[in-house]
């Protein structure tokens, strides 16, 4: 007996739910459940073994009076700002300019750009580059007759040193190039006929064309950079002088050094709220589709 449209719809929806179920459950177990528990712990003194004790807003009050709380946020904003400025906008410009070149040149340039990414053994090797006594960078400076730097040992330079690897290892350039190639060429031809120069084409055609991609990657960049941990932890451990202690590193230290999980969760909750606020602001003022 053939299925009625209604039955078929029901069957399709059932299949859709079944397909989505594993992902949904994973999200629930590994996403929402820890989030809910984290929020609860933020209002408790949570011992590793034993019964938790509700303490209300005590942790938030302590954080408000904690000088490292503000320092950590400042460092995080500094890192995020520097990272987005250097490793987010720069690849957009490079990708746009790259596509102005000849096809053969584009291929060579892409290889030159992306090969270091494949060959890099991660953040660890940068720690050796920055070594003040026999690192690569000071070696180059010495050869050039310039004064050497303390790099990761300098409170002023440490954060910049951590951001720099992202400039070379940033992969979204590929996404931008793919996106740029999807913009119809007839738009550029029409613009040329109208007498538009290179920068006018970029401003009125290219950038609006990849706006959705920029919006999406900016959103991910904000979320990712505000939660930076690996680079700072591996290269400096949060020092020197807390110069690279980001919010997540501070949370990690509160939780695993002081064993104060309640205070750490409170800090994580505040960070989550700040990130949400930034996303809301970004979504409100940076419309993906300018025609909507």
């Amino acid at each position: 007996m053939p299925k009625t449209p209604r039955k078929e719809l029901k069957a399709t929806r059932k299949a859709a739910w079944l397909i989505c179920l594993p992902g949904f459950l994973a999200n629930l177990i590994f996403g929402w459940y820890p989030l809910a528990v984290g929020i609860i712990i933020a209002f408790q003194v949570w011992p590793i073994i034993g019964k938790a004790e509700f303490v209300g807003l005590t942790h938030f009050y302590k954080l408000a009076n904690d000088p490292l709380f503000y320092k950590a946020f400042l460092n995080t904003f500094y890192y995020a700002g520097l990272s987005i400025a250097l490793t987010f906008f720069l690849p957009i410009i490079i990708s746009i300019l790259l596509l102005e070149m000849k096809k053969g040149t584009i291929r060579v340039m892409m290889i030159l750009w992306f090969l270091p990414m494949a060959a890099m053994s991660g953040i660890i090797i940068w720690k050796w580059f920055y070594n003040p006594y026999y690192g690569l960078f000071n070696g180059i400076l010495t050869i050039m007759g310039l004064p050497t730097s303390r790099w990761l040992s300098s409170s002023r330079l440490a954060m910049f040193c951590i951001v720099l690897p992202g400039l070379i290892m940033f992969a979204p350039g590929l996404i931008y190039i793919a996106s740029l190639q999807s913009i119809p060429s007839n738009l550029y031809e029409s613009a040329e006929l109208e007498g538009a120069g290179m920068w006018q084409k970029i401003w009125h055609i290219t950038l609006p064309g990849i706006r959705p991609i920029i919006a999406m990657l900016l959103l991910l960049a904000v979320i990712g950079n505000m939660q930076v941990f690996d680079q700072a932890y591996v290269m400096t451990g949060g020092g020197p002088g807390y110069a690279t202690t980001t919010v997540v590193i501070y949370y990690y230290n509160i939780a695993f050094q002081s064993l104060r999980f309640g205070k750490g969760s409170a800090l994580a909750l505040i960070l989550g709220s700040v990130i949400m606020a930034l996303i809301i602001i970004q979504r409100k003022y940076f419309k993906e589709n300018i025609n909507v």
Partner: protein
């Protein structure tokens, strides 16, 4: 009637049977299982029961393995109802603490572990992560013998009159290790004509020697300083000889402690460390210089001296497998400007999992003591590292009765490492300062405190222009606000009075110069919180 008789007979039979069976069942001892970390408890890497005769014979060919097999067999003979299982466990890495914490929360932690990575005994006990082993310790002959011999090492293991950890026989004093060949080349000899620093050298001697050993042409520095994970320990070592307090009483009474980073003498320590890098230009230092990295630089010949712990660097003395091709020797830590040098010997603190049942705890404790201080230790040389450290002072073995029939050949380290023995003997003569733990004053959040100290000192590595006093005040404030914001339960001003009175006597009797020049003003400005 018949039915009643049958029922009565059945009940009587069952009761009789239960009276007979129950005692038999009760007499059979329950098997107690527990997991232990496979570090220094060799031989239980796999289930011993699964070893075939061929495997046992094969293992017995190696003297070391033979001893381990023997110790295993002895343990199983003595404790047939215990079933320990060795598990691979990360005890020392930077992530060891979070792994242990996670395991404790999920109930998968081993039966015992080193307390260092979870904040030390005092913090871990306060957080309920360590079992109370007071009764077990009091009943243990080996533990009682150890307490008698070096009582002060047991003090940090106790809190509020209860014992929470056992010091393991891995004597750790902070020493300066040096390259004798570099000393020889630089023409630096001690009073006996040996290429070595003077036995009773001071910080001034240290600086002068380090400068002589620094050779920019050969890219070698006189000293390499810890830069990250062990920087706080280096700071503590220098602070001890300067007589600088790391914490002082909180006179307001709100918390127990306040940071001592901003006391004049502690600022002097930080200034000294900064000057080693920028003024005397004799020290290799950087915020990226970890414990491991620092050792590598020293072993690579980039520095002539470095800080380490007493069982490190076999070097010039015949300690197999430990860098015998380099002329590395230990020297005691230099005395401070006012002649202070305190016995800084510490031991690893091993605590027991607080989630264990009473039977599991007893079993784990018996196992631990057997291999660390009991018959198993003597049988298998299960010491920290290997048998070449047996015979060092303060190891628990000397307190264990040594039955003749279990005797194994001992390699006395005094015969193969006489210089190390001399350094240890010298350290043992240094006076032992009163410990605050003995007066109910303990320090929590040690890891955070060390991290704060690390960040503080690291600021000096980046620039010579850093104002030490300004930084000291800033980091003291951070410590006071975020780390030392607790009050010890039951702590009163009497605790401070007793402790600092004892400290006053200690410095007056042992270091009169320091007492007159420094301690008295510290007493007035910081210590007298009553």
């Amino acid at each position: 009637m018949l039915r009643n008789k049958v029922l009565g007979g059945l009940i009587a039979t069952l009761m009789t049977l239960s009276l007979v069976i129950a005692p038999a069942v009760a007499e059979e001892e329950k098997t107690v299982k527990f997991d232990f970390p496979n570090i220094g408890f060799y031989g239980f890497n796999e289930a011993f029961d699964s070893w075939t005769v061929d495997k046992i014979v094969d293992e017995m060919k190696s003297p070391d393995h033979a001893r381990i097999v023997y110790a295993n067999a002895l343990f199983r003979y003595l404790y047939p109802n215990y079933e320990p299982t060795g598990i691979s466990w990360d005890m020392w890495s930077a992530q060891a603490g979070e792994k242990l914490i996670t395991a404790l929360a999920t109930g998968s932690a081993p039966a015992f572990y080193v307390c260092e990575r979870i904040g030390g005994t005092q913090t871990a006990a306060a957080k309920g992560l360590l079992a109370d082993i007071t009764d077990l310790v009091n009943a243990s002959e080996a533990c009682q013998a150890l307490k008698k011999s070096y009582g002060s090492l047991w003090v940090p293991q106790w809190q509020d009159g209860r014992c929470y950890s056992i010091p393991r026989d891995a004597m750790q004093a902070r020493l300066i290790f040096y390259r004798r060949d570099f000393f020889r080349d630089a023409g630096i000899f001690d009073a006996e004509g040996k290429a070595a620093p003077p036995k009773e050298w001071t910080t001034e001697d240290f600086v002068s020697i380090a400068q002589k050993l620094t050779s920019p042409k050969e890219q070698r520095w006189g000293y390499t300083m810890q830069g990250s994970d062990w920087l706080a320990n280096e700071f503590k070592a220098w602070s001890q000889v300067f007589g600088a307090p790391l914490v002082v009483p909180d006179a307001s009474g709100k918390n127990t402690w306040k940071s001592g980073l901003d006391t004049p003498v502690t600022i002097e320590v930080a200034q000294f460390m900064k000057d080693l890098v920028w003024k005397y230009k004799c020290t290799l230092a950087g915020a990226d210089q970890s414990w491991v990295g620092n050792r590598e630089k020293f072993l690579a010949g980039q520095a002539a001296m470095t800080l380490s712990i007493s069982q490190d660097f076999g070097g010039g003395e015949k300690m197999p497998g430990r860098y015998t091709d380099l002329e590395i020797y230990p020297a005691p830590w230099p005395k401070g400007p006012t002649g202070v040098r305190i016995n800084n010997i510490e031991m690893d603190e091993w605590g027991f999992n607080s989630t264990l049942s009473k039977e599991e705890l007893k079993a784990a404790f018996d196992f631990y003591i057997f291999f660390v201080a009991g018959l198993g230790k003597r049988a298998a040389y299960v010491n920290y590292g290997d048998r070449y450290f047996d015979g060092m002072p303060l190891t628990t073995h000397i307190y264990t009765p040594w039955p003749v029939d279990h005797r194994m050949e001992i390699v006395d380290y005094r015969t193969y490492a006489p210089e190390r023995a001399k350094v240890h003997d010298l350290l043992l003569k240094d006076p032992v300062a009163p410990l605050p733990e003995a007066y109910g004053l303990y320090l929590q959040n040690k890891m955070s405190l060390d991290a704060n100290t690390m960040n503080y000192i690291q600021t000096f590595f980046g620039s010579a222009d850093v104002d030490v006093e300004k930084q000291a005040k800033e980091y003291a404030k951070i410590a006071n606000t975020t780390i030392l914001d607790y009050k010890i339960k039951g702590q009163t001003v009497d605790n401070f009075r007793e402790y600092y009175t004892a400290l006053d006597k200690f410095y007056k009797d042992n270091f009169p110069t320091y007492y007159e020049e420094m301690f008295k003003s510290l007493w007035e400005d910081y210590f007298k919180a009553w």
